[in-house]
């Protein structure tokens, strides 16, 4: 019979805290950057210039159709060889996470905008609004509501994806758990605690996504 010993693991609680904080920073940073990248890619895809559309599409497919772990390893180990400069694990981590999530955000944003009836754009144009005015005052306010559930879900995945930075020794929660494990030789307790911490962070978020989805269905 296995005898649980959370006490030993809890001695290293400060290491977990560092992990949680780092995970939080990488999540917020990569989501913020990802939104900017996603918006740019989304409007590039909706643009009337074919070159922009192709460029954005290529970027999206590249990042959506390769595993994030491979991207992280490539950015950290392979890219420096190509460029001849070293890249810190922070830079490689934030860059890949942001580009990765941005490619999915772009699709979510585009879907939300395209889901708005074209009569809305026509009605805005009919009172003399420009494309930008119609987008900011009429289309986006409606589209954001439609995007919200998918956006939150993708962001939940993003929190979990930061754990892949373990592979390049970023001190996020999974990596710090492995540190706790090697210090205490208590993998069962350490990784169970890590899983619980992720769950406590993410469960409220999925509930919020569900809430928005229900509200949206009601208002339709």
């Amino acid at each position: 019979m296995y005898s649980w010993d959370f006490y030993t693991v809890m001695q290293s609680f400060d290491l977990f805290l560092i992990g949680i904080w780092t995970t939080f920073l990488y999540t917020i940073g990569s989501i913020a950057l990802g939104v900017v990248i996603g918006l740019a890619a989304c409007f590039a895809r909706l643009s009337r210039f074919a070159a922009l559309r192709v460029l954005a599409r290529s970027y999206q497919e590249l990042f959506r159709c390769t595993p994030l772990l491979v991207q992280i390893l490539w950015a950290y180990y392979a890219l420096p060889m190509l460029l001849g400069v070293s890249i810190s694990n922070t830079t490689a981590g934030v860059l890949t996470l942001s580009l990765y999530v941005g490619s999915f955000y772009a699709e979510i944003f585009r879907g939300g905008i395209n889901a708005i009836d074209k009569g809305q754009r026509e009605a805005a144009a009919a009172v003399g609004m420009s494309g930008v005015q119609s987008m900011t005052h009429i289309i986006l306010p409606q589209a954001v509501k439609k995007m919200l559930p998918a956006f939150i879900n993708q962001s939940v995945i993003q929190v979990k994806n930061t754990s892949l930075l373990y592979a390049i020794s970023v001190a996020e929660l999974t990596y710090m758990t492995s540190v706790v494990n090697s210090e205490t030789y208590r993998p069962l307790e350490a990784y169970s605690l890590a899983a619980l911490m992720y769950f406590v962070m993410l469960f409220p978020l999925t509930q919020i996504a569900d809430h928005f989805e229900r509200r949206m269905r009601r208002s339709d």
């Binding site: 009172v127 003399g128 494309g131 005015q133 409606q142 509501k145």
Partner: protein
Amino acid sequence: MTEPVIAVRGLTKSFGSLDVLKGIDLDLMPGEVLGLIGPSGSGKSTLIRCLNMMETPSGGRFTFKGQEVTTRFRGKGARIGTGELRRDVGMVFQHFNLFPHLTVIDNITKGPRIVRGQSRAEAEALAMDLLAQVGLADKANAYPSHLSGGQKQRVAIARALAMKPDVLLLDEVTSALDPELVGEVLAVIRRLAEGGMTMVLVTHEMGFAADIASRVIFMEQGRIAEEGSPDEILRNPRSERLRSFLSRFHG
């Protein structure tokens, strides 16, 4: 001689290889109420949508109050853009196209505030005035989803009027309404006609067109087939085609 508000010469419109408008000449005079009738696919909806450049014509000349209009949003030199054109040529759609995320009053004030730069107070005063005219003053703070079809369309008319347009384009504005709601919308349009508003309406309400139109155009296969007073067109049709078209609306 008075100048036409909108004048088009040789207007054409093609969608791919399909020629929907095959050379339309039209002068819309101030104060005129022009009815566009014709079978579906005759091009009447495309024509009315070309009159505010919602549909970009493929060819022909287009002037608004004597000024040439470009197909771009912004004008260039002496030519005005579609943005300026649409400020002065309002449109009401078959499916209302109200903005669902805005209250009735915000639906109406959005255009004047953003496009004309009116203050909120100024735009809201005008909007309340217009809502009273269409009989919906008590709905100012309601959202469109809480309105009936007839009420939505009356709000849509108020929204177009808030821009103080020179011309109002009405594209089958009663076609999506339950029959018992058609009357309230027609009553609003009738009052506008009596007030001297210049209007173009695509309609299937022949009786109504006969009543308020000052001129009726019968379109067929992308061309103006017949035009004249409602008496000539609707009560004494000349061509066999027009007679058979009209017979479907009687008895």
